[in-house]
Symmetry: C2
Subunit: 476 residues, 2 copies
Amino acid sequence: MASTNRGVTQADIDYFTSAGISVVHSNEQLGGTYNTDYFDKYHGASQTIVFPKSTSQVSTILSHCNNSHISVVTQGGNSGTAGGAMAQQHELLLSLRDMDRIRDLDIVSGVVVAEAGCILETLDEHVRKFEYIVPVDLGAKKRCMIGGNVSTNAGGLRYLRYGSLHGNVLGLEVVLPDGQVLDSLFTLKKDASGYDVKQLFIGAEGTLGVVTAVSLALAPKPQSEQLVVLGMDAFVTIQRTFVLARQLLGEIVSAFEFWERRCNELVVQYEGYSSPLSATHEFHVLIETRGSLARHDWEKMDLFLARLRAEQLVGESRVVRDPAEMEQVWLFRSQMANAHMKSGCMHVYDFSLASKHQHELLRAVKAHLHRHKLYGCEQAAVRDVTFFGHVGDDNIHLQVIADEFGGAVEEAMEPWVYQWVGAHKGSVAAEHGLGAHKGQFLKYSKSPALVDTMKALKRLLDPNDIMNPGKHVARA
Amino acid sequence: MASTNRGVTQADIDYFTSAGISVVHSNEQLGGTYNTDYFDKYHGASQTIVFPKSTSQVSTILSHCNNSHISVVTQGGNSGTAGGAMAQQHELLLSLRDMDRIRDLDIVSGVVVAEAGCILETLDEHVRKFEYIVPVDLGAKKRCMIGGNVSTNAGGLRYLRYGSLHGNVLGLEVVLPDGQVLDSLFTLKKDASGYDVKQLFIGAEGTLGVVTAVSLALAPKPQSEQLVVLGMDAFVTIQRTFVLARQLLGEIVSAFEFWERRCNELVVQYEGYSSPLSATHEFHVLIETRGSLARHDWEKMDLFLARLRAEQLVGESRVVRDPAEMEQVWLFRSQMANAHMKSGCMHVYDFSLASKHQHELLRAVKAHLHRHKLYGCEQAAVRDVTFFGHVGDDNIHLQVIADEFGGAVEEAMEPWVYQWVGAHKGSVAAEHGLGAHKGQFLKYSKSPALVDTMKALKRLLDPNDIMNPGKHVARA
C-alpha cells in the first residue's frame, strides 16, 4: 500500500514558510500528539505538520503537494479510532486546528457556518447561547472538530433524534487536491439543483480533499430534559423497551443507549465512577428525552415507566431529575471506551447490525475465540469481550480486550468477524470509519460494483493520489 | 443541446420484445400520457416506451442502449414540473410503472424496501397499517412514484419535520448506464464505510442511471394531529409566528405553509373549493402538528394560539379538529398549482430563498414586469404574479400567469429572476429539480468549480451520455 509520492523536503518547508504558513518539522518524528491516535493503537510516522490559518493557505499547500506529488494526511482533533488521521510514512500532516472561526450564525433560520477546526463542544456551547444545539454529539466532543465529524460521518449519541450528517450538513467548503476551492457553503434547507457533490466528502476521511468549513442546520435547544437509567437482565427486554419508548415517548426520545454488566464494571474499576444503579444487572439502559414543555415531557416519562413496571420489564430504575446528576450519568457513559482501553489492549469494532443479531454476535465472538483457545480457558490472551451500543441506530461497539494488539487475537478475529457481520447484512463500519485498516473488509458489506465506483470517484477527484493514500477504499 | 445518439429502430424493439420486455411503439408519437408533463408546459417527442418488470430487464435495456448509443429518458409518475421526464427528440422512454413491488418492510426497525414504481400514496397507505408513515409527502402523491421522488430529491409538505431524502434514504438499487447493477440497498441507519455513492443519484433526475429500488427509513405514524388555519395581513407576521411555533409547539410542528390572497382566490375560482377562512386576508397560514399524545398536543396548540392572540398577530383563526375537515383543508392547499394552471399559462419558479428576501422577490418581480409593460398596465400579458411556500424550509413557489408560454414574459423573467435569486444566495431549484430548462441557470447559485465537478461526475458515470441527455447539468 506504500504510496509512490515523495517525502517532504527542506525546500517544501521553505516554500510553506515563505507563504506565511505555520510549519513544525522534526528531523526525528513529531511527538505523540500528532502521531498517536485516540485509542493508542495506530501510530504515525510524520515529521512535518502544517497549520494553515485560512482556506487560501490550505489551497496553497494542496496545490504545491499535488504538483510535487507529496501525500497529505488531514488531521482535526485527532480523536479518530480507526487510524484515518495517522501518517503511515512520510506524508505531510495538515492540521485544521488554527481554522476555528465561526463565520456566520443565522439565529432566525438556525444555520451555522463554522470552520473545520471548531471543536464540537465549543461550537455547541456557542450556538446554545442562541437557543440552538449542534445536531451531533459524541464522547470525544471536547476534542473532536466539526470538520472531522463531517469527514468521518460521525453518528454519536443522539443520531436517533437528529439523524445523519448527510441530512444536517447544508453545505461544505472543500479544497480539492489541485488547490481548487469547491464552495458549496449553501445555508438554506432545500436544494435540488444538480448533483449533491458535497455528500461525497461526508465520510470520505480526507481522501478526496480537505473540508475547510461546514454549513450546518442546527436543532432547537430543548426546553426540558429527562433521564432514566434502567437495570435489565435480558437483551430482548431492551428491544421491547425500545418499542414502548417509541410508542409512549414518541417524538421526545433523544437517546437510547445500552451497555452490558462488564462495561459497567470496567468504568467503575478503571475510571473510579460510581455505578448509576446500586444493584448488579446484565444490562444498563439509558433513556433520555428532550422536549419543549417539561410538564408534558415528565408526564410522558412517568407513563412510560409505569408501563415498563406493569409489563415487569425493568428491575431497578433510576429517574434522574437534577441536571448535574444527568451530567454525571452521561460522563459515566462517555468513559466506556477509555475504561476498556485502560484495562488492556482494545481491539475495537464498530458495526451496524440488526438488533436481532446483536447479542448473537457477542455469543458467536466468545465461542469463536474459545475455539481458538483465546478466551474462557487457562492462559487465554483475551481478558474480556464486551459490547455496548446505540439502540434504534442498530449500532454496536464490540470490544475484545487482549494482552497485546495484533497477534493471534487479531488473526482469529479478522476477517472472520467482518465476514460474520457482512453475512448478517451489517456494515463493517457504522460511525468510526474505515481508516487505515478496515478498507480491506469493505467487500464483506459492499458489492464489487459499489467498491469499483468508489475507487473510480477517488481517481476522478484525486488523480495523483495525494490525499490520505493507502487508507479507506484504497485498501478495498 | 441535441444528442448525437441514434433513435430507436425496429431492430431495437424486436430485441427488447425477444427479451420479454413490454414495449409500446407508435409510428407517430406516443400519446399525451407520456409526452406531456404535469403542468402542460413541456412536451415530449418519444415514439417508443419500455415497461420493464424487473431490475434485470432494466439492466438489459440500458446495456443495449449503451452499446447502441440510444438515449434513455426514465419516467416514473410523470408528475414532474421541470420537463425532466420528457423525451426531447428520439429518446427511448423507460417507465418504472410495472416495478411496483414492496420488497421488504421491517416492522421493528421501520425500514421499507420498495421498487421505484411504487406510487407514493400507495406506499404510505401500506406502511400506515404497521404504524409508520413515509417521511416525504407532496401534492402529487396519488401519481408520483418513490423512484421519481428520490431522483428529483423531492421536498414537499413535511420536510420541516422529517427532513431531507439525503438523510432518510438508507440505500438504493441503481442500474448504471452500462447495465451494471449498483446495489446499495442497505437497511440499517448508520453507515460510515466508504463514499456514500447513493447520494449522487438523489436528485440526479435520471442522468446517471435508473433508480430501481429504494430503502427508506420510515417515521412513526403520529398518534394525534392538529391543524389550524390563520389569517394574517403582513408577511413579517408569518415569520414571527414561525418563531413562536418553534418555541411553543417545538418538536410536534409538522407543517407550516403560507399562501397569499390571490392564491386563495384562484383555488376558490378554478377548483370550486370554499375558502378555509371566511374573511379576506393578505396571507393564509396553515400549521399542522403531529404528536404522540393528543391531550398534550392540543394543549400546546392552545397555548400557542393564546400567545398569537396576546401578541395580536392573527386576524381570523380556524382550529380544525375533525379529520375529514383536515383533509379538506389539505386538499385546498394541494390544488394551488392546479388552480394557477387553469387560470392561464403558468411560468412556475421554485426557489430556496432566505425568508427575509421572499416578499422582496415578489415585489421585485412585479416591478420588473411592470417596467417591461407586462404587468399592472393596459393589455398586460401577465395576469397574476403570486407566491406560496413552505415556511421554515425557505422554499417558495412563484407563479407568473400569462397568456402564453415563452415569449416576452419568459424573456423578461429569465435569466433575470435567477440572477436575482442567486445574488440573494438562494437556489434556482429548491425541490422541482433542473429538468429540461433550468440547468442553464445553475451558474447563478453554484460556483464554476462545483458545476465542473458535476459535469465530471456525469462523464465518469455515463461516458456515452445516454441518460437523459441535454438536460440537468448538461445545460449548465
